[in-house]
């Protein structure tokens, strides 16, 4: 019996020692199949495993795909790190340019427009017409983010494929004053002059009426205390409450205006995107 157990143990251990796990090639093929099927989140650990076992000579394609997986999962910092590695490991010039575009997309999505601009300006001047259009599109987004709307308009115009789309984009950017409306400073000043006016100007009518009634109530309370007691009493009772909601009111007015302005810009930007996408 002892001999049987001993024999079983020895054979199991030797079997386990020699039984092959998946090879790096198989892991890579598995990762590739997941990547091609669009399951980038699942492909990421398989690519990371591949990269771990073939380091330090990880090829640019694996690095690029790891970066793509991070990008699609929204981890832009990691994506940037791997696009950087991929860029320096890459020998193919056209893929290098594509990596630069991906890096700028990461910067754009994380609202680092100046870094995106740096990446786009590092591309060589003479590009193929297709890449040139792509660069113009990215530069358009970058200048839009940097709030230089006339520059953004001219780049978006260059990115459009046909003259009709170019005309549409030109019409959108013809008057750039509406990109700056509603004005947060004006909203704030309006609420300083008349509580609630800034909110109404920013399109938040109910909030404006609410602010007017609330601050009006504390003003009324102040006058009432003055009439029944003394101005000093009003100073210590009604004024702090009035100050709190008066100040909150004009801060909110500026916030509402900023939010509304961002909403307007986002709508205009989406109009531009629709024009550019429709010509493809």
């Amino acid at each position: 019996m002892k001999q049987k157990v001993f024999f079983l143990l020895v054979s199991l251990i030797s079997l386990a020692a020699y039984s092959p796990a998946q090879t790096v090639g198989e892991t890579r093929a598995f990762a590739d199949s997941l990547y091609t099927a669009g399951h980038l989140n699942e492909a990421l650990p398989a690519y990371q495993r591949t990269a771990f076992f073939i380091r330090p000579t990880v090829d640019a394609e694996v690095l690029n795909r790891i970066a793509d997986c991070f990008y699609s999962g929204g981890d832009l910092e990691k994506a940037l790190e791997f696009y950087d590695h991929s860029y320096f490991a890459q020998t193919n010039d056209s893929i290098k340019k594509e990596v630069l575009f991906r890096k700028s997309a990461c910067y754009l999505r994380s609202h680092n427009y100046n870094f995106a601009l740096m990446e786009l300006l590092s591309l060589e001047d003479s590009l193929s017409p297709g890449l040139e259009k792509k660069r113009n599109f990215y530069l358009g987004m970058t200048w839009f983010g940097l709030e230089d709307f006339s520059k953004a308009g001219s780049y978006f115009e260059k990115a459009a494929e046909d003259s009709m789309s170019q005309q549409k984009i030109k019409a959108i950017f013809a008057d750039i004053r509406h990109f700056y409306l509603p004005n947060p400073k004006l909203a704030s000043w309006l609420s300083i002059i008349l509580p609630g006016a800034g909110q109404i100007y920013s399109g938040e009518i109910w909030s404006g009426i609410n602010s007017l009634l609330l601050t009006g109530f504390f003003v009324g309370l102040g006058f009432y205390i003055v009439s029944v007691s003394s101005p000093v009493d009003a100073l210590f009772t009604a004024l702090p409450w009035f100050q709190r909601y008066y100040q909150g009111g004009f801060q909110h007015a500026a916030d509402f205006a900023k939010n509304k302005r961002t909403e307007n810009r986002s709508k205009i930007f989406n109009e531009v995107l629709a024009v550019i996408a429709s010509t493809k």
């Binding site: 056209s94 297709g130 792509k134 989406n270």
Partner: protein
């Protein structure tokens, strides 16, 4: 024959090159949320809990305060969730003991003990959620 072939190559190649590596419609549309405003707006609408008379009165009072008064205030509370939301939730969770818990929270709302709390990243305020009190 030869010039025809050359001419077609010259016509086809630039047309092909124009679309090569140009941005695709999907790529263009993928940027549609790039300039979207921040969705993290404070929610002032709180549900009134008609569980019993005590809860109904308190939650209605808080809902009124949050909708018409607190919404007009600047960011004054040092905690996330704010003291009024905390009070509402602790009363819902801990009933009468929740009232004492809410008073305790108000006495702590001064920012002089930052080492005792984690920071709530989106609001950049001290994180102090409601917990079930064991008694």
């Amino acid at each position: 024959m030869k010039w025809k072939t050359i001419a077609s190559i010259f016509i086809i190649l630039p047309a092909f090159a124009c679309n090569l590596h140009s941005q695709t419609p999907d790529e263009v549309r993928s940027f549609s949320k790039l300039f979207k405003p921040d969705e993290n707006k404070p929610d002032y609408s709180l549900k009134i809990d008609p569980g019993n008379e005590f809860k109904l009165v308190l939650t209605s009072g808080f809902a009124f305060y949050k909708t018409f008064v607190s919404s007009q205030d600047g960011v004054k509370c040092t905690f996330y969730p704010s003291c009024s939301v905390y009070a509402l939730n602790t009363i819902k969770t801990n009933s009468l003991i929740g009232v004492l818990d809410a008073i305790d929270r108000l006495t702590r709302c001064n920012g002089i003990s930052p080492e005792k709390y984690h920071i709530h990243e989106p609001s950049q305020r001290f994180y102090d959620p409601v917990e079930k009190i064991r008694h």
